[in-house]
């Protein structure tokens, strides 16, 4: 028992954390379910929604590169951009291989970090 309570810690805090995490998430999923069922899947509205979703995802990618979180901030900006550029080049060179892009990007980042500190 004491082992369990030690692991879980303050359960009040955990419940608050759970509610704070689940609630804002659930709102959007439920709203999506609600409104989504009334929309024709070939509709122009969904084409727009898909374009915005893609662009928002691109924004998240750009944010991680431009305003890096945590340990990534220790990597110089030049290295991060170079890793992205080389990754892109490898991605296209290998006929749109996700694996090639990710691996080459990582190699450049690690090499750059090792070189420039």
């Amino acid at each position: 028992m004491s082992y369990v309570s030690e692991f879980i810690g303050d359960w009040h805090a955990l419940v608050i954390l759970l509610v704070a995490g689940v609630f804002p998430n659930q709102i959007w999923r439920m709203l999506g379910l609600w409104f989504g069922s009334g929309i024709d899947e070939g509709s122009e509205l969904l084409v727009w929604v898909r374009a915005v979703a893609t662009a928002v995802l691109a924004g998240i990618i750009a944010q991680i590169i431009v305003q890096p979180p945590g340990a990534l901030a220790s990597v110089p900006g030049v290295v991060r951009y170079a890793a992205l550029a080389v990754g892109c080049a490898a991605f296209f060179a290998a006929r749109r291989s996700i694996f090639a892009g990710v691996v080459c990007g990582e190699i450049v980042m690690l090499a750059g970090k090792w070189w420039l500190g």
Partner: protein, 141 residues
């Protein structure tokens, strides 16, 4: 892409919970090859598989995090943008997909200057709407 005339809303509840970036992106690639009345089952399987992998990885990552070198930590953080970018780029079919992706990348640093707190939303809606405009323009000509 999943609904059939017999689909009830409750059939989609679990799907709505499994939706995340990887699932969303990969579904555009996989679903056309899956018969329509099997797609919900397919997503349940794919989604649960992805969640299992991510839960296991999160647990491993959590226990490793404190002991990781800064370089290795940075390499792991770099995985997210690279994997998201290339998996999305791979599934671009129309020119409007490409425009949304590229403009979304380019406009974020501009939107970040506003420092509004919802920068990604600003750049995303702008880039997405322009991409949609390109789609409309091409559909007409």
């Amino acid at each position: 892409m999943m609904r059939t005339p017999e689909t009830k809303r409750r059939h989609l509840i679990l799907v709505a919970h499994l939706t995340a970036v990887t699932l969303w992106v990969e579904c555009f690639r996989f679903l056309p090859q899956v018969p329509r009345d099997r797609r919900i089952a397919f997503i349940h399987g794919l989604g649960c598989g992805l969640i299992s992998v991510s839960l296991i990885s999160t647990t491993i990552g959590y226990s490793l995090a404190a002991n990781l070198s800064q370089t290795f930590g940075a390499a792991i953080l770099m995985l997210t943008p690279l994997a998201f970018l290339f998996s999305t780029a791979r599934n671009c079919r129309d020119i409007s997909d490409v425009v949304a992706l590229v403009l979304g990348l380019v406009l974020f640093p501009v939107a970040a200057l506003l420092n509004s707190g919802v920068d990604i939303l600003v750049s995303g809606v702008t880039a997405g709407t322009i991409a949609y405009g390109v789609h409309r323009w091409r559909a007409r000509s």
